[in-house]
């Protein structure tokens, strides 16, 4: 952590905020309660924002929520589609987050092996 790194913040924040306009095809909701943060939710979110920006995916918005009540399988994200479909992914890390962006958000293919629960 140094001042130079902090200075890069301004430009980066602007780009990422621009990603978050409404009316998108996908909404990613990251569980960012205390247990999620302790399990690594911040890195998952940062990786997803970076990947979404890198791949130029304009139709994705990223939001956060508090605890999902799924503390033992954090970090957890839920992807909601415009059609109403919801997919929950659990026990994530940066690598898995990249995979989800590449497969689900870019190609529209669910990553079944990372998904949990019954899909609605």
């Amino acid at each position: 952590m140094n001042l130079e790194q902090l200075k890069q913040l301004k430009e980066k924040a602007q780009k990422q905020v621009a990603l978050r306009e409404s009316g998108k095809k996908y909404r990613v909701v990251v569980s960012m309660g205390t247990s999620g943060i302790a399990a690594g939710a911040r890195d998952v979110m940062k990786t997803m924002l970076d990947e979404i920006e890198k791949r130029g995916l304009d139709d994705v918005e990223v939001r956060v929520t508090g605890e999902h009540g799924l503390e033992d399988i954090e970090p957890v994200i839920q992807i909601e589609e415009a059609s109403g479909d919801k997919t929950t992914y659990a026990r994530l890390d940066a690598e898995k987050a990249k995979q989800i962006v590449a497969e689900h958000l870019q190609k529209g293919k669910k990553v079944e092996k990372l998904a949990v629960g019954k899909q609605k």
Binding site: M1, L6, Q8, K10, A13, Q16, M32, R42, M45, K46
Partner: protein, 149 residues
């Protein structure tokens, strides 16, 4: 236990977003001369009454809908020779301050403060997230709204 102080900051600031704050001010003061590291998160959210305040900072009286975030930060501050303070009133926002000895052997690293600020900015772009970071010789200010206006 959270590994980095910047994760504590994110955790506390998430409370501010949950309290519908439109402005969240994060201050990090790092003084080698005085051997203090002081973190403060202040918001203009809905605030809370005394009973909620008391319930939120101790593990013993933990109730439903009250998490462990503040208790964990309090524990970290006190373990590192510092203090913890939270002030709030309904409708007046909230302010959480944690101090610790900069050179205390148990003090967690500040960690990736950038990731914390970016996460907060992305979490709710309408909220003005401000950072004030100061050392003995340098100063840095950031506001998430300054370039979107």
């Amino acid at each position: 236990m959270l590994e980095e102080l910047s994760l504590h900051i994110l955790d506390i600031a998430m409370n501010s977003l949950a309290a519908n704050a439109s402005k969240v001010e994060i201050s990090v003061l790092e003084s080698q001369k005085r051997d203090w590291l002081i973190l403060r998160v202040r918001d203009n959210g809905k605030g809370m009454d005394i009973a909620t305040l008391r319930g939120g900072t101790t593990k013993r009286s933990r109730k439903k809908n009250i998490g462990l975030g503040l208790a964990l930060l309090r524990q970290t501050a006190e373990m590192c020779g510092g203090h913890f303070h939270i002030g709030s009133a309904p409708g007046k926002g909230a302010s959480v301050t944690a101090s610790m000895r900069l050179t205390h052997i148990d003090r967690p690293a500040l960690g990736d403060l950038n990731a914390t600020i970016l996460t907060l900015c992305a979490a709710n772009p309408k909220v003005d997230v401000r950072l004030h970071y100061q050392t003995d010789t340098e100063k840095f200010q950031f506001s998430s709204q300054e370039k979107t206006s």
